[in-house]
């Protein structure tokens, strides 16, 4: 650092100030209309994708538990939050956070119930089990109107209020980053990573692998629940197809491309993914719109060829690390 000993500025504080500055600038641009509502929506969507992907990174990247059911928890959070907010007649700033809390808790509770039996499975087998779980949830969403009329079944759930705004997404995204960062750089985080590295050795040094795997899975799914709730109140419409297993693959791609076990990588890949897919829609002329789905996979292949460990390769920006982990 350029500053001498007397004037040592903590890089974490600087980063936080920069982030808050960014928030102020983006907020101003949105209010003043420089950022149009369409870009505003993409911006919010990017934040939502990041929150959900951070959750999967905790499950797969840090704890090493392969999950193909992430979109199901995203959907559970979305539907739950939407049902809660529509049942509240009153208006107020607290309506959305309450809905998100309900979404997160429901996703977490279901993750606990499903996690206890299936987290005994390893790698591919766990992937298949979570895939099966995701399919069951998807079928439930498609037939949900038979149980709760408001959920709309295969036709989708309508009439959700648009409560998700940039400040909300920003707050929850920042919160998700801070929670995950504090979690992974702690005794709990070390235990989770030790399971990823060698589950048997972890058990041999006192780590209760079953309970830590479940903990990581539940917290990761709660992130998905919050993200789903924000999503529901951004697009005001929920369709079961938005929570099928292909959507789980999308999140998995983001986590792998960003780098397993890297918060920084997930933020870059998540935001980049949202802006690339939507941005190409704007940039490409309408005649070659279909090429969007060619450009996107090509980008994936190129990244994997040149950075096979993901964009950040499992490391973090210095400001995200606690003092003792920083180099110099």
């Amino acid at each position: 650092m350029a500053a001498g000993n007397k004037l040592r500025v903590d890089i974490g504080t600087v980063a936080l100030l920069i982030v808050l500055g960014l928030f102020a600038v983006l907020g101003f641009l949105i209010v003043s209309g420089v950022i149009n509502p369409y870009v505003h929506t993409i911006l919010c969507y990017a934040g939502i994708v990041v929150i959900s992907a951070l959750g999967l990174n905790l499950i797969y990247g840090y704890t090493g538990q392969f999950s193909l059911g992430h979109a199901a928890f995203y959907g559970i959070g979305g539907y739950t939050a939407a049902l809660v907010t529509r049942s509240i007649a009153a208006q107020g700033w607290w309506v959305l956070p309450l809905g998100l809390l309900a979404g997160a808790l429901t996703a977490g509770a279901i993750a606990l119930l499903i996690g206890l039996p299936i987290l005994r499975l390893k790698s591919d087998y766990l992937g298949i089990a979570t895939l099966g779980f995701g399919m069951i949830i998807n079928v439930l969403f498609k037939n949900s109107d038979k149980l709760i009329k408001a959920m709309g079944g295969a036709a989708g759930m309508r009439g959700i209020e648009r409560l998700t705004t940039f400040p909300w997404v920003f707050i929850f995204c920042l919160g998700a980053v801070i929670v995950l960062r504090n979690l992974v750089f702690s005794g709990v985080g070390r235990a989770l990573i030790s399971i990823r590295e060698d589950e048997l050795a972890a058990e041999a040094v006192g780590v209760n692998a079953t309970s830590y795997k479940t903990l990581g899975f539940v917290i990761g799914c709660m992130f998905a629940g919050v993200a789903g709730g924000l999503y529901a109140h951004l697009y005001t419409y929920l369709n079961p197809d938005n929570f099928d297993f292909l959507k789980s693959i999308d999140v998995l791609l983001i986590v792998v491309i960003g780098g397993l076990g890297s918060i920084s990588g997930t933020i870059i890949a998540g935001a980049g993914w949202a802006f690339l897919l939507e941005g190409l829609r704007v940039i490409l002329p309408s005649a070659v719109q279909e090429w969007r789905m060619v450009v996107y996979p090509l980008v994936l292949i190129v990244i994997m060829l040149f950075r096979s460990n993901g964009i950040m390769g499992g490391s973090e920006f210095n400001f995200l690390k606690p003092q003792e982990y920083r180099r110099r």
């Binding site: 929670v179 504090n182 979690l183 702690s186 005794g187 709990v188 985080g189 070390r190 235990a191 990573i193 030790s194 990823r196 590295e197 060698d198 048997l200 050795a201 972890a202 058990e203 041999a204 040094v205 006192g206 780590v207 209760n208 692998a209 903990l215 076990g261 499992g314 003792e324 982990y325 180099r327």
Partner: protein, 256 residues
């Protein structure tokens, strides 16, 4: 003298294969016992049975008066049995310091919420664990390696790191699975000194598997020999060395 570890009639079968058969062993506090035998004799299986990684088909294992059969590996570790592995099993992607710290995690009271909101309790506990881990690393001569990834350490240092990791929770018994495997004579000598040193320093009871007779004869005060899953001989090193059954197990029957 009291008995720290008592194994009686331990048997483990994998399908038709009898890996360990009616094996009995007692360890008194302060013992440094060698477990030897030809490849496939069932030595590592005995370690896996003691540490709960596999469940015995029959037999009992009592540690400090407490039966441990049926307990999970992490519970047995917490009772005070630490181990190393034949094929070093470090957490490769974690730093040297974190490899040791993770093994002390269970001693803390700070929970998930302390970590997430970074309470004072979290910081004081991290400090305590870190100091303890650094002490272990300096005892094992790894203090300058703290920030390196475990996978980047040279072989001998990886062995020492595994021992540091097994020691941080102050186990009463340390099980060493071929600690000197793959080392050159000078390194073997240093490892022998190290084993004697940590035994004295941490008041350990040690059971070690080793193929290098130099180690077994040099530091073990008692030697137990296994062949085909069974205990075939035990005694002080010189006795065992000249036992015809042991010679037969290693070299085959003469004239046969």
């Amino acid at each position: 003298m009291s008995v720290l570890l008592e194994i009686k009639g331990l048997t483990k079968t994998f399908g038709g294969l009898v890996a360990v058969k009616d094996f009995s062993l007692t360890l008194e506090p302060g013992a440094l016992t060698g477990l030897i035998g030809p490849n496939g004799a069932g030595k590592t299986t005995v370690f896996n049975l003691i540490t709960g990684m596999i469940t015995p088909s029959s037999g009992s294992i009592v540690f400090a008066g407490r039966p441990v059969v049926g307990l999970k590996p992490y519970q047995i570790y917490r009772l005070g049995i630490g181990r190393t592995f034949q094929n070093i099993r470090l957490f490769k992607g974690l730093s040297v310091l974190d490899n040791v710290r993770v093994a002390y995690h269970h001693r803390g009271n700070a929970g998930l919420f302390d970590a997430i909101i970074r309470t004072r309790r979290f910081y004081s506990e991290e400090k305590m664990i870190t100091e303890k881990a650094r002490e272990l690393l300096s005892i094992l001569g790894l203090e300058t390696r703290e920030k390196d990834m475990a996978q980047n350490l040279p072989y001998g240092e990886q062995r020492r790191l595994e021992i540091a990791r097994a020691l941080i929770a102050e186990p009463k018994i340390l099980l060493l699975d071929e600690p000197a495997a793959g080392m050159n004579p000078a390194e073997v000598g240093r490892m022998m000194d190290l084993i004697l040193f940590i035994q004295d320093r941490f008041k350990l009871t040690i059971l070690l598997i080793e193929h290098q007779m130099k180690v077994v004869m040099g530091i073990c005060r008692w030697v137990v020999v296994m062949d085909f899953g069974e205990l075939i001989a035990q005694g002080v090193p010189t006795e065992v060395q000249n036992n015809p059954k042991v010679i037969e197990a290693y070299l085959g029957k003469s004239g046969g």
